[in-house]
């Protein structure tokens, strides 16, 4: 029989007992819907988590610290590490060396300090960080009001939303609604803010100390840094207010005020590690507590980390965290898929039942078709086609139903998230491949269910089928 004849006869037969076949088809569609809903929930959650991590900007970043800081990110490395005193200093030449490693986009010092700002004659204390100009393309600045720094040395400043609110005296009380960024930015953009900072002024080691403490300086301290500290004040222009936290991975140490990196470098602000320089052999060039290394592609992180470790520094990246995250989502998808498939398995039993019933009911009809020339294969194909049509209809209906369920989940969650003062998220996502896969899967399951009934119908003995009942 030709395919279109087969399809026509199959649809005709399905319409003959429309109620039973509709119910079976609805059964399939409920199965497909549950599968689609479960899988798209898994996919949506994964996308949401990945989106957050990518936006954090640390997905492709390795943080490098000196072992001299005796500060390890990874406790397991403690024993294996060489003596901290023998470790190299994380200074400007070391930074340049790291930057020249393959697959490294840039390596910039992580300069941050706590200082006080004066705005409207009121002091505010917060963490300041210097950010390189490459941050301009970071997703974290997507929702920023105003503009990025006009140049690397511009005396300009970008405020994090919460600090902007603090300056305006609009810090939200716990539980109340946060003010939108645009509203906070309007009175601040273009305004001046003054920043106090402590400059480190290096004093040549050979120069005698003006305070007359020269006798206290041991003769072997030639290599150690000697410096004085001068207090300065700098006027900065507010150019941007950002909604997202580009620095969120740092927890409590995150900066709420951002300055151009080159500007911060030129200010020679005293860094926490400066104190150590007075007691340890120090390099003549600036030293850093942390250098952030941006890698071309998250997949290259491991190689860069290994290369930097070989140089004698400590490293930390999000790689391990994301690896376990991916594993978690793979397992989650499998479990959601299995639970979704259970309903489809029940539906496939429904198909078998319906078709076996149809054979009993249409016994005579099968006998007639065989008597007038239908082959076993024709009869088998016809039952197969009926199963396939039910699968196709059930699959299409199921995808639509699953999509609707997902929309409802999305709607419900977002209403809940809003009531909890959280930003709405798309936690449910149906990619096109899932639509195709679900329909195909429904057809395959239906055909497999049709296997036994079709074979049984094909084997039916026409003489017995035509005998009077």
């Amino acid at each position: 029989m030709k395919a279109h004849d087969l399809a026509e006869l199959a649809i005709r037969n399905l319409r003959e007992s429309v109620l039973r076949n509709s119910l079976t088809t609805v059964g399939i569609s409920v199965g497909v819907a549950s599968l689609v809903a479960m899988l798209s929930l898994g996919i949506g959650l994964q996308q949401m988590a990945t989106r957050r991590l990518v936006k954090s900007g640390l997905f492709d970043t390795v943080m490098v610290t000196s072992r001299r800081d005796l500060r390890n990110f990874n406790r397991n490395e403690d024993g294996a590490s060489p003596d901290p005193a023998q470790s190299p200093v994380l200074d400007e030449p070391a930074r340049q060396k790291i930057e020249r490693l393959p697959n490294v986009v840039e390596a910039y010092p992580d300069l941050r300090f706590i200082t006080s700002f004066t705005f409207d004659d009121k002091p505010h204390l917060t963490m300041v960080a210097g950010i390189p100009s490459s941050y301009k393309t970071n997703d974290a600045f997507d929702g920023m009001q105003g503009s990025f720094f006009s140049s690397d040395m511009a005396p300009e400043i970008i405020l994090q939303k919460t600090f902007a609110a603090e300056l305006l005296g609009k810090t939200p009380k716990p539980g109340s609604e946060e003010a939108p960024v645009a509203e906070l930015a309007k009175p601040l953009l273009g305004k001046e803010i003054s920043m106090r900072y402590a400059e480190r002024v290096d004093v040549p080691a050979s120069q005698s100390n003006p305070n007359g403490n020269a006798s206290n300086t041991p003769p072997d301290s030639i290599d150690a840094a000697t410096y004085s500290i001068q207090s300065h004040e700098l006027k900065l222009k507010i150019v941007g207010v950002t909604d997202l936290d580009p620095d969120s991975m740092r927890g409590a140490a995150r900066a709420r005020v951002l300055l151009p990196l080159k500007l911060v470098q030129s200010l020679h602000v005293v860094q926490p590690n400066a104190l150590r320089d007075t007691t340890q052999a120090a390099s003549k060039t600036p030293t850093y507590s942390t250098v952030s290394v941006r890698v071309k592609d998250p997949a290259r992180i491991q190689g860069v980390e290994d290369a930097v470790k070989k140089m004698g520094f400590n490293t930390f990246s999000m790689l391990d965290a994301t690896r376990s995250l991916r594993r978690f989502f793979a397992v989650l998808d499998i479990f959601l898929g299995i639970f979704g498939s259970l309903a489809l398995a029940v539906a496939s039993i429904g198909i078998i039942n319906t078709l076996v019933m149809a054979i009993l009911e249409r016994r005579r009809e099968i006998g007639i078709m065989k008597a007038i020339g239908a082959s076993d294969v024709d009869v088998q194909k016809l039952f197969f086609a009926e199963a396939g049509v039910m699968g196709l209809l059930g699959g299409a209906l199921g995808v639509a139903l699953g999509w609707m369920i997902g929309r409802l989940i999305n709607l419900g969650t977002n209403v809940y998230l809003r009531s909890q003062d959280l930003t709405p998220e798309q936690i449910w996502f149906v990619p096109w491949w899932l639509v195709g896969f679900a329909i195909l899967f429904a057809i395959i399951v239906s055909l497999l269910s049709g296997l036994y009934p079709a074979a049984r119908a094909a084997r039916l003995d026409p003489v017995q089928a035509l005998r009077y009942e």
Binding site: K370, A371, I372, V463
Partner: protein
Amino acid sequence: MMTASPHSNGSASSNAIRTENVCRHYVMGESTIRAVDGISVDVPSGEFVALLGTSGSGKSSLLNLIAGLDRPTSGAVIVEGKNLAAMSRQALAQHRLRTVGMVFQSFNLIPSMTVIENVELPLRFAEVERSQRDTLAREALDRVGLGRRLQHRPSELSGGEQQRTALARALINKPKLLLADEPTGNLDSRTGTEIMNLIREVNESLGMTVVMVTHERALAGQYAQRMIFLADGKLVDDQPNPASAAASLPGDRA
């Protein structure tokens, strides 16, 4: 082969059906039912044969063997030169599709299909193009005198109209043999006569071999050229019917 060919060609064209000691036994628990028990007959091409016997004599079983609906337990059934006993299931389906056409006592139309759909159903199995199917079906229905009510379902037709539909369906693939199993059994005598006249016309004008199963001696005597009597699965009598020659005269029907 070369010397035998003119001879075998002649015998193939003269014998539409040949059974050689054919048996069909059913095993029912402990006992064996010998529905057909060693029957050998030759039916020449174009002959109208009646198979007569009481209920359970094996006449329908023999017809089913010739139709290729069933296989013999032993012996050979040769139809149009091919031994059905040696055929695959697929080949038997082709035999039922193209070589034989069947009509039944209970019409055996598919209730969910209209008249014309029922008639063209064998064409679907024969993979005939949709455009040709309608023309062929209307031709066949014309032949059996059913030009109207083509879009009706069988349940909306009279018995005579249903049997005409079944006859049109049997003829649609232009088979060599028409096999009829009690074709008038469910009809009143007037419509029965109409159907029998149609079958005789098919036999005469198309030269189609007809094998009809019936238990009515009178009916067989009126239409068949030859009568074969069966009892308990065995052939008990095989005689030509001299009356049929007179009955088939065109003047008789007018």
